[in-house]
Every structure is written in C-alpha cells, then in structure tokens.
C-alpha cells in the first residue's frame, strides 16, 4: 500500500503545526526575529515547548517517536512560514544523537538548550559559538561543538554564518545521514515553493494595472501557473521520496536526491518569478518576496543540491 496524502493522524499533526505558524509566526514576526542577535529570537523555545524538536526521536530516548515522514511534514509547514532557526538540522542532530545512543546530547537538543547548524568545510551555517554543527558525509557523520569563530554575514536574514576557528568533536558515527538531511531540505523547499505560489497568485489577483488585475495578463498568469505545476511535481516527488526513505527501499536515496534537485531549482526559479510578478515593490526590502528567494537559495545549497546531488543521481543504478 502506498499513499502520498496525509492520513487522519498526519492531518491532525499538520493542522496543529499550521495553527501555531499562522497564529504566532506571521511574516512580520519572522522579520522581527531577523533583527535579533541570533536571527531566531524567542521562537526557538516555543518550538521546544510544542515538542517539534523531538518529533523524530524515539519515545525511549525522550522523543515523540514519529517517523521521518512526520518530520518532513513539519518541515513543509516550517518552510511555508519561513520559520526562523535551524529546525531542519536540529531535528536531524537529535535523530543522529538518539541513533548513536547519546541520550545526553539528544536531550539537550530536543529541550531547545542546544541548537545544531550545518558545517560546510569551515563555514558554519546557523551556529553560534557553543552550538553544535553536523558535518555530513557519504561514509559517516560528525557532530562538532563550535568553540570559536568569526562572524560572517548571511544571505538569509534569519540565518547566521560563522567561519569556524576552533571546534571539538562531540559525536562520530559511520552512518550517513545525507538522505534524511536532503529529504528535510526538500520538504522545507516544498513549503517555500507553495508559499511563493500562493503569494504570487494573491498579489496578481489584487494588483491593478491598465484597469485590470495583473493576473488577467497571460505573462503573469502563466508564471503563476508554472509555480503551481512545479509545486505539484515537487510535492509528488518529495512525498514519494519520504515514504520510500521511511520504508527503507533500495532506491530511497535516489528518490530523495531527485526530490531535492527539483525542489531546489523549482523554489529558486519560482522565487525569482515572484519578484518579477510584484514589479517595483518586488525588489524592495519592505516587500516579502526576497525572503522566500533567500531561504530557497540557502536550502538549495545547504546539502549540496546544486552540484553533488546531480552527480549522485547520475551515478545511482537504474531502479528495478
């Protein structure tokens, strides 16, 4: 039996996540968070209180005990709302720690005390000194504590980057977590893409030029339609990959890589088209389209969607 739509329990889970995000985390608050020192502000504690950081960790290890599918559903919603903070990598780090039997590390992550960013060579994304970073590889995974680093600017306003100057190994495993990492990124990109589609259509319905809503002009209408087509394809491929990864099928990693590559390019291209649909206001700081573009680009690069994933897709054996 295969289903790519949410069942009753999953629908309730999505509804509870969405309820918080629409009531408490509107884009105005996301922008306020961006003005705080860590780009996240107080919302991190709220994620922890709601149990979001513990979703994929087993109940034995103090978590909620749901699967990678529910983590992906959470990230779709988080992406739609441009939720600040390193949710995707902290969920992943908690899973890695729990799998490795490091209950202390898992506990500190799911309580919200410790956040996990991502290490790309000497660049730490979403980590402050004292936070941990995940170093993903095909042959194994490291979690390191960032002890010192030089602050760098970041493209995404809610993200902070560091040049790592001193770090300490906290956990080492020979398991690869590339596939779950890429699935969560694809899911978050799907949420971003669906939000872009909805925002562009909403603007095209109300913005009037030449005496008509601009959505009546085919050039604009077709850009919006292309977003909807891409969103349908990305939703299909991402959910297909999620259920395969959860079931542990042979081609699960390939399905995830393919989901990430189309999610990354579709979200980025739609984000650009959204700016164009907005006209002059579209390229201002005040309007929201740039926030989606920047998050889409961050997520597209975070786990290698631009380069590495394509090589892996091509190298993968043919599906049976």
């Amino acid at each position: 039996m295969i289903s790519l739509v949410a069942d009753q329990e999953q629908s309730e889970f999505i509804a509870s996540v969405r309820d918080y995000l629409t009531r408490r985390l509107e884009l105005t608050r996301v922008r306020e968070c961006a003005e705080t020192a860590d780009g996240v502000g107080g919302v991190w504690d709220e994620y922890a209180e709601m149990g979001w950081l513990a979703v994929g960790v087993s109940e034995a290890a103090g978590g909620v005990g749901l699967s990678i599918i529910e983590e992906a559903l959470l990230m779709i919603e988080a992406g739609r709302s441009l939720a600040p903070g390193p949710l995707r990598s902290t969920l992943l780090a908690a899973r890695i720690a729990a799998d490795a039997g490091d209950a202390d590390l898992a506990g500190r992550l799911i309580s919200g005390e410790l956040r996990a960013g991502v290490a790309l060579d000497d660049l730490a994304v979403d980590a402050r000194p004292g936070d941990v970073v995940i170093r993903l590889g095909a042959a194994g995974t490291l979690i390191e504590e960032v002890r010192a680093g030089a602050t760098l600017g970041a493209l995404d306003p809610n993200t902070r980057c560091l040049r790592i100057e001193d770090s300490r190994e906290v956990l080492r495993t020979d398991r690869s977590y590339l596939a779950p990492a890429r699935l969560l990124a694809a899911a978050e990109l799907l949420g971003v893409l669906e939000a872009i589609r909805d925002q562009s259509a909403a603007y095209a319905r109300v913005r009037v030029q030449f005496g008509k809503p601009i959505g009546s002009f085919q050039a604009v209408k077709h850009r919006c339609a292309d977003m909807a087509v891409a969103a349908y394809a990305v939703r299909a491929q991402t959910t297909f990959a999620a259920v395969h990864l959860d079931a542990g099928t042979d081609d699960a990693e390939l399905q995830v890589d393919m989901a990430l590559t189309i999610a990354a390019t579709s979200a980025r291209d739609s984000a650009k088209a959204n700016i164009l649909n907005h006209g002059g206001i579209g390229f201002t700081w005040e309007a929201d389209p740039h926030l989606y573009l920047k998050r889409a680009v961050l997520l597209g690069r975070l786990f290698g969607a631009e380069g590495g994933v394509l090589d892996r897709i091509l190298a993968a054996p043919r599906a049976a």
Partner: protein
Amino acid sequence: MKLVPDPETEQFRQEARTWLEENLPSERRPASDGAAQVEWDKVWQATQYEGGWAGIDWEAEYGGRGLGLLEQIVWHEELVRARAPRTSIFDVALSHAGPTLILEGDAAQKEHYLPRILRGQTPWCQGFSEPGAGSDLASLTTRGVIDGDEIVITGQKIWTTGAEFSDFGELLVRTDPESERHRGLTWLIMDMSAPGIDIRPITSMDGFPHNCEVFFDDVRFPVGNIVGDVGGGWGVAMSTLAAERGTGFLNHRLEQITIVEELIDFARDHDLLADGELARRLARARATASALRSMAYLSMSTVASGTALGPEATAIRTYYVQAQMEFAQLAMDVHDLAAITWGPVSSHWLGEFVGPIAGGTVDIQRNIIGERVLGLPR
C-alpha cells in the same frame, strides 16, 4: 502518507510481469506503413484482451476487470518495464472515447461500442478541432441538423489523428444555429464509413500523415449515435477531460522513465558524461521523469483518500509535455550527429512537437491552472 509492503499488489505485479514476458509480440511494429501498423496494433490489443489485460479499469460487463487506480499504475509500470508497444491507433478509443461512453453513454451505446474497443476491433478518432476552432474549441461551426431520426452533418474537422484507419470517431457539432460558444453543441458517435465523409491526410513535419482533415457533406447518422443530450455536448466533452486528468496517457508518462534511462546508458557507454553540461541535464531529466511517476502516485492517493481530483491535476499534463520536449531535445544532443541524419532520434524529436499542442495547447492549460486553481481573473 505511508508505504507498507502489500503482498496483493506485488502478486498482481508479478502476474502482469509474467504475462507480459510470455505474450509480448516477438516482431517489431512495422516502421512506416500506416495500414500495416494498424493491423499490428489490433493484434496486440486483441492479445491483451484475450489475456484479460485490456481495459483493466473498465467494468467487467464491458470486458474490463474493474480494477482500481493503483493496479492501473502497476500495470502501466510493467508495460513500460517490458517495453511493450504503445496503444497507438487505440489511443483515442482507450483513453478518450471509451471513458466518455462509460461516463455519458446510454446502456445500448456502452454495450455496443466498449467491448469492440477492448477486443481491438475498432480504432476511434476525435473530431473536435476545426480550422477556425483550435484552442478556442467553443467557436466551432460544423453544423448538425436533426432530421427525423437522423442527424445531418455539414462542415469540416481537422487534426483528426488516424481518421483513415478508424471505424468510429467522437464528433462535436453545433446543433443550435442561434447558439454561441459552448451552448448548443452536441456530441455524437460518427461512423467513419458513412457516405459523404471525405478524409484527407496531412503530412506532419516528421514526414508521416498522422492527422487528417475530415469534410462532411450532408452526412447522416442515426440520432441514437448522440451521446448525452442534444445541446449538452460541451458537458460530455468536458467530462472526459476531468477523467483524463489522473490516468490519461499514463503509459506515455511512465514511458519517459525508460527514454531517459536509455539516454543515460547510451551516454555512459559512449563516454559522454565527461561533458558536465550534458551530465547535469541527464541527471535533471532523471529527476523530472521520476516526478512524472510520483505525480501519478499522488493523484492516485488523492482519489483513494476519497477526494475528487481537482483542476490542480492539470499540472500533470503541463509538466509531462514540457518534460517530453526536453527529453527529445536531450536525445538529439546525446546522439549528436544522428540529429542531422534521418532516423529514429530525429524522427522522434520531430514527432514530439505535437505534445504541447494536441488536446489543448500548453498555454491554454496554463490559463486553466491560473484561473481554476489559483483563482486569477480571466
């Protein structure tokens, strides 16, 4: 949202796989002779019927098996895996005319026409487009006049694929001369052998006469050929479009996976992957083809969860035709100099230009998505 092992479906898959291994035609479809191709297509369709694999989603009383969407996907996956022949001359009969009759036909029509389709006896064609009514189908002017127990047709259709080899056709005509647009139209079954029908093939840019002009000069059909109500033809035509969203031409969509896999194999065997740009395009193509299959599973899951497929599923066809064009171009680029010789690669590439135009242009599809899915004004 879940994947759990499903012995019943796996058994069905094995059954399909075994049957295909044992029953695939041993000879290739004739390359260029239209009449010979049609005979070959009829034999393959009849073989599937006799094996119990024709119209697996059609009710048993019409010769089908009444199976669900999941089995349809599995069956089509196995057809593609086995590189089974396409439905070809039966495309319209199986994917369009049949489903329309199932939804809108009366008992006598269903009983007469549906089994003959599944048995491979009667190819169908589609008489919708006219010289002045392409994307704007509702502006069609071919006349239908009720005369006692007959309806008399005068006018012209165009782009009728396979008209000269079809026994029957779907015909959309204007029966109310005072009507405008989509009102006053009637959908009927045309017998292609009726006196007064003149069929003239049009040669496509790949050199083959795939499509025809069809002229009607006082052609008479019994009123019993009318499907649905007189004046209700637009609704009949649209009902099929809705049915088509989920499963229409599923085999063609799934086939794209094979096309891309063969390109990747060819590129690897010929050391072409060192060309970074070509390699990246092939990787993206693999992802795109996979998404086509995933979209079939998504629409299947939606229906299985009790939700009707809405216009958002129109996205499937839009995505498909764009993918198909890109893959045909990719084949030209992978095969390099074969692109400028006359052969399967260049011929396939030329043939794929019909994709974004036939059955409603991709631009019209985008309008539909913009207006009905996103609520944009007309």
